[in-house]
Symmetry: C2
Subunit: 195 residues, 2 copies
Amino acid sequence: MADTGSGPGSPAPRKRADARRNQEILLEAAAAAFVASGVDAPVRDIAAKAGVGVGTIYRHFPTRADLVVAVYRHQVEACAEAGPALLADADSPHTALTRWIDLFVDFLVTKHGLAEALQSDDAAFATLHAYFLDRLVPVCAELLDAAARAGRIRSDIQALELMRAVGNLCIGAGKDPSYDARRMVGLLLAGLRLH
Amino acid sequence: MADTGSGPGSPAPRKRADARRNQEILLEAAAAAFVASGVDAPVRDIAAKAGVGVGTIYRHFPTRADLVVAVYRHQVEACAEAGPALLADADSPHTALTRWIDLFVDFLVTKHGLAEALQSDDAAFATLHAYFLDRLVPVCAELLDAAARAGRIRSDIQALELMRAVGNLCIGAGKDPSYDARRMVGLLLAGLRLH
DNA sequence: TTGCCATCCGGAACGTTGTTCCGTATCGTC
DNA sequence: GACGATACGGAACAACGTTCCGGATGGCAA
């Protein structure tokens, strides 16, 4: 899945130099295009910006989602790793959960169209969907569980469901100044509390 | 906006018979296509199902949104009219608000892709956006206001913002059995309550 | 009834997307 | 220096929304 070169000893036959260079250039061009036009920037535009043919994109990133995942992998990792850290530092599991959701929302809101793509049933985004869920749902589940055990929130909500709801609420954020996704997510979390 | 023939005495020069017939056929075909494939069923498919050329669709419904609006106008009207009725009947404004949101959610959830289209920034859906907002936001505002005055919910939420949030939460409902939009909307409303 | 013209229809054609495919160029090695 | 594996470029294809215009057709006037 667009592996940038992980564990040694793997049977990876070491790619050609131009291939590695192009992959790097593509990642930068894609990142720039995503900032400028959102995650569904036309493939041709990204290719042009990178000075590369469209075929090259598809060889390195078989689906659009692979490209998106590769571009945002670092930030998703950071978000995933922040979960346990927050749980350890915050003065309550509920605070940790709130803070973590804030992190997630910030991430989504600052990436044009990412939230949309995340919910899209377009086959091209299946990998994206899978990656986010695999990486973040367990983290969310841990936080949710801790908060539930502390008796602060209802315990009948699944992490997957909560994350989808949060992701959905982030759709369209930044396009309309009168819609504040963060506030709406805050409301959702407030609805989760027992009182 | 796809007027089906409203007030008499209007300067409407009475359309030709075949035009009126085709408009009717088109509405039925579109309704069927929307049920089968969602509101973004290919225009060509709708035309074919209606036994009509694509040009005919665009003459009657200049944009995709006009077609969608025409198909669902009755139901949107019904939803809008239910607002004041609920406010009069229910034992509290808060109950009325909850019931009305339920109605709205039911409507969105049963129409494949409607919620998605509603948030899309695609220019083709601008009319749809405008119609829903014009028609439903005032109703929601009235309910919200009544509930706020009764002191049951926070008063710092705009109707527009709430409706967008609810609409967003309905995205993707029915595709994934593990995601229950109604439940999530319930959570959001719970977060609105003062306690 | 007939004829005429405004109105409306059908579908070809255009522009934009994602995606595939293959002849050609390049890299790395022997 | 030559050769095979690898990678590249961009033409080509398919699916979509949308526009456009030659031809058909409905309604009215004579």
